[in-house]
């Protein structure tokens, strides 16, 4: 065949080996040491939260293990049982703060991540449908999205919690309600952009089914902005949950999240028992900062306009 005189095509010298988009993404991501550190910290935090029940001395949600007589012990005080030490003290109800914080972290992350993921699933599906179906359905969906977005999340969550009542599930429902629209808008936006690209036309030209094009071709390419939104929204959800807890419409008193720990400990701010809200505050802050840092780097790495 004569065409081969076009080359044995000179192997591109830039990439020595097969580089998957993921590998490239990892390489780009780790360019920032801070973000890498944040990511590791995030993984550690999540792991800690995950294995909390096996590493903490006390189950802070089991009322049989919590004694009001132990309330507000200073950091470093030995527990009344003598079996362990309250390294970070206890809260107003007598919970060991280390235990309570890790459990609280669990709840906060659960609320943040779960609501983020559910909202993403719901929003992405709606966004894809809107982009795909088009026409009146799309207009209707996008109008609802606009309305949802133009209305302050905190008000919606506040009203919903007031109506639904307390509980982790209720909080998640409320947070999903206020978040899904972000995902829907993001996915629809990038799905529209992607579906105008020639590779989608090519796929259609090749007779591939709509479902295949939508989920195998378009959706994977909509993921980068979605991932960014997930990180931002997760951080936002955790913070929002804390705020709702502060406003008294958050989680049950006996199963405090980090936000509720802070908000409970907040009463002690002026009385000198700083540790009750200081340490949870620190952990909450660190968690949100870390997620934001990771999200920031993701944004930089995944943003095609800033890529080199």
């Amino acid at each position: 065949m004569s065409v081969t005189d076009a080359g044995p095509v000179a192997a591109p010298v830039r990439q020595p080996a097969v580089q998957t988009p993921f590998a490239r993404f990892v390489a780009d991501f780790t360019e920032s040491r801070l973000a890498t550190f944040a990511f590791i910290l995030l993984v550690v935090t999540m792991l800690l939260a995950l294995i909390a029940p096996w590493i903490v001395p006390q189950n802070p949600y089991d009322l049989a293990q919590v004694d009001i007589m132990d309330s507000r012990l200073k950091p470093g005080t030995p527990a009344s049982s003598g079996k362990y030490t309250h390294w970070l003290g206890t809260d107003g109800a007598g919970r060991d703060l280390v235990s309570a914080m890790l459990y609280g972290l669990r709840i906060s992350l659960l609320v943040g991540v779960l609501s983020g993921l559910i909202a993403m699933a719901v929003g992405a599906a709606i966004g894809l449908i809107a982009a795909y179906v088009g026409g009146r359905t799309e207009s209707l969906i996008m109008r609802i999205v606009d309305l949802q977005l133009s209305f302050p999340a905190i008000l919606v969550a506040l009203m919903l919690i007031a109506i639904l009542g307390k509980g982790v599930d209720k909080i998640i429902i409320a947070l999903v309600t206020v978040q899904w629209a972000y995902y829907a808008r993001t996915v629809r936006g990038s799905a529209l952009v992607e579906s105008r690209k020639e590779y989608v036309e090519a796929a259609r030209c090749l007779g591939l089914s709509n479902g295949r094009i939508l989920f195998r071709h378009i959706l994977p390419n909509c993921l980068p902005p979605l991932i960014v939104v997930v990180t931002v929204q997760t951080a936002h959800a955790i913070s929002l949950e804390a705020t709702l807890s502060f406003l008294g419409v958050g989680l049950p008193q006996t199963e405090p999240s980090l936000g509720l720990l802070i908000s409970n400990g907040f009463q002690y701010m002026l009385s000198g028992d700083y540790w009750i809200s200081f340490f949870p505050g620190l952990v909450l802050l660190a968690t949100i900062v870390v997620i934001n840092l990771v999200g920031d780097q993701l944004r930089d790495v995944l943003n095609p306009r800033l890529s080199k």
Partner: protein
């Protein structure tokens, strides 16, 4: 140029306005409240912050002293003519803020208006109902009731007397704007900015003892730490409802003085005693069981499980007193015999075993959050204690908005919960109020037990209460009320926990005389 000049003018004006009252004898008092009064209309809403605010401007026939004992107010004296008739002598020489004289007509007008205020979300009708007011002369009023009614002075201590001349046809808004806010009280209306500030100036022509402060500014600061901060930063002079968590610290602060006093409020638990199966009680394995709270031994066991001294000490920061009955010992009609239930885990376990629950059962404790001092934490602590005797207790707290509906009419017009934390402030300052409302058999027609959320029913107790309520003679009634209290407490109709102490904090150099009715009023702030 124009702009800066205007601002300058405004600043000078503001400066003058601020500096003027400071001249020579001017003494300003700034107080921070934990709740926002909703109106200057003293009849609009029977609510502590409203009543406290309006009592600066308006007075009642009978006043409560700081311990809620009736003392003369606009009436100098009262007596019973017969079992069903009371006569009140009005204070002579009292002038309204607009200078017109106070007469019996004003009293009749006030009693007429109090139960019938438009849009009122909670009127004073309860205190006027069944009473017929008659003017004997300008300075004498007679009140008749269909049955003997001993609580006449207490009831009339709730109803503010307003000026017939100034308030005829006035709406609530007219009071807020100051138009109708013409009272006889020690302070005059100056400014009412809802949610922001309420300003009063001293009534130099008041009949009684003149308060120290010439000008009073009252501001609502709902958040506890913010309220404390405002005091510490010197932005206010007096705050009410000092969060218990800060009492310890403030005691050590040389720039702050505290005033602490027993309130008329008891924190207690209502227990479902009417359903055969209670919705929030199950066996340990989650299966349905017969309602154990119907058994007195179980109720007693739960009462014994509560470590009241620990609650007072650790949770309330000593701003409470372990409760033995519905009102603290000093109040009218309390029993001297009753003592707080002792903390006794073994005894409690034994009683449970006797009642057939050696391994306990599961229960959910419901509580409001933010309605009573430390209510949610209290629920949590008590749940801990119950869990220790084998009654595995879950806590569910909710905002008052949700809680009280469900606790009162949640289950088809009946209370929804099995075991609930509640508080009761005896507005009349004596024991008949909690007895009648909380433990008398629920009876819509008679108006008994309206908030008996456990639906406890004991004919013996009902009889005792009714008898006491029909006894006008004070010593005798006190004895009957004490007796009724003993019946209720000994049968563990409710489990009482503690009486709240109310705490005020002032800047050094001032002192707040604590009031059992929880009012925060400028007249109670003295200078040292």
């Amino acid at each position: 140029m124009y702009r800066s000049k205007t601002i300058l003018t405004a600043l000078v004006a503001a400066g003058l306005a601020l500096s003027a009252p400071f001249a020579a004898t001017a003494k300003e008092l700034r107080m921070a409240l934990s709740a926002e009064p909703s109106s200057m209309d003293p009849h609009f809403h029977n609510l502590t912050p409203n009543n406290a605010l309006t009592s600066h401007v308006f007075e009642r026939l009978v006043h409560f002293d700081s311990k809620m004992k009736p003392i003369p107010g606009l009436a100098t004296s009262w007596k019973t003519i017969d079992e069903k008739t009371w006569e009140f002598k009005l204070r002579p020489g009292v002038k309204w803020h607009d200078g017109s004289p106070f007469t019996a007509d004003d009293v009749l007008f006030s009693m007429e208006r109090a139960p019938n205020v438009e849009n009122s979300p909670g009127s004073f009708a309860t205190y006027v109902k069944g009473k017929t007011f008659a003017k004997i002369d300008d300075m004498t009023i007679r009140v008749t009731t269909p049955a003997p009614y001993p609580l006449m002075p207490n009831d009339l201590a709730t109803i503010a007397i307003i000026s017939k001349k100034a308030a005829s046809g006035a709406k609530t808004d007219d009071f807020n704007s100051g138009k109708a806010a013409i009272g006889t009280g020690p302070y005059k209306y100056a400014e009412f900015v809802k949610g922001d500030r309420y300003v009063l100036v001293r009534n130099e022509d008041h009949w009684g003892e003149k308060p120290v402060w010439t000008k009073v500014t009252i501001r609502p600061i709902k958040t506890g730490p913010s309220r404390i901060s405002a005091l510490l930063a010197g932005d206010v002079d007096v705050i009410e409802e000092v969060p218990t968590t800060d009492i310890e610290r403030l005691k050590g602060d040389t720039k702050i003085a505290l005033g602490q006093g027993l309130s008329n409020r008891v924190i207690f638990f209502h227990m479902d005693q009417w359903r055969d199966e209670s919705p929030f009680i199950t066996a340990n394995d989650g299966s349905k069981i017969k309602n154990p709270l119907k058994d007195k031994r179980v109720r007693l066991a739960l009462s014994k499980a509560i470590n009241r001294p620990a609650i007072v000490d650790r949770l309330m920061e000593k701003a409470a007193v372990p409760a033995s009955q519905f009102l603290a010992d000093d109040f009218f009609g309390t029993s001297k015999k009753l003592k707080p239930e002792t903390f006794d885990i073994e005894g409690a376990k034994k009683l449970l075993a006797e009642a057939g629950y050696p391994k306990g059962f599961k229960m959910t404790l419901h509580s409001p959050n933010g309605r009573y001092i430390n209510d949610a934490r209290m629920a949590e602590a008590v749940a801990q204690m119950f869990t220790r005797i084998g009654v595995e207790t879950k806590v569910e707290t909710m905002p008052g908005a949700v809680y009280f509906t469900r606790a009162t009419t949640g289950a088809n017009g009946n209370p929804e919960f099995s075991f609930m934390l509640l508080g009761w402030g005896a507005g009349t300052g004596e024991v008949s109020s909690p007895l009648k409302s909380l433990v008398a058999t629920f009876d819509k027609v008679k108006g008994m037990g309206p908030v008996n959320r456990g639906r406890y029913s004991n004919p013996v107790l009902d009889k005792a209460i009714e008898e006491a309520l029909a006894t006008v003679d004070d010593p005798k009634r006190a004895e009957l009320l004490a007796k009724a209290s003993e019946i209720a407490i000994e049968d563990v109709a409710v489990i009482v926990s503690h009486y709240q102490l109310n705490t005020w904090a002032t800047r050094k150099g001032m002192q707040y005389t604590p009031r059992a009715d929880e009012y925060t009023i400028a007249m109670s702030v003295s200078e040292q």
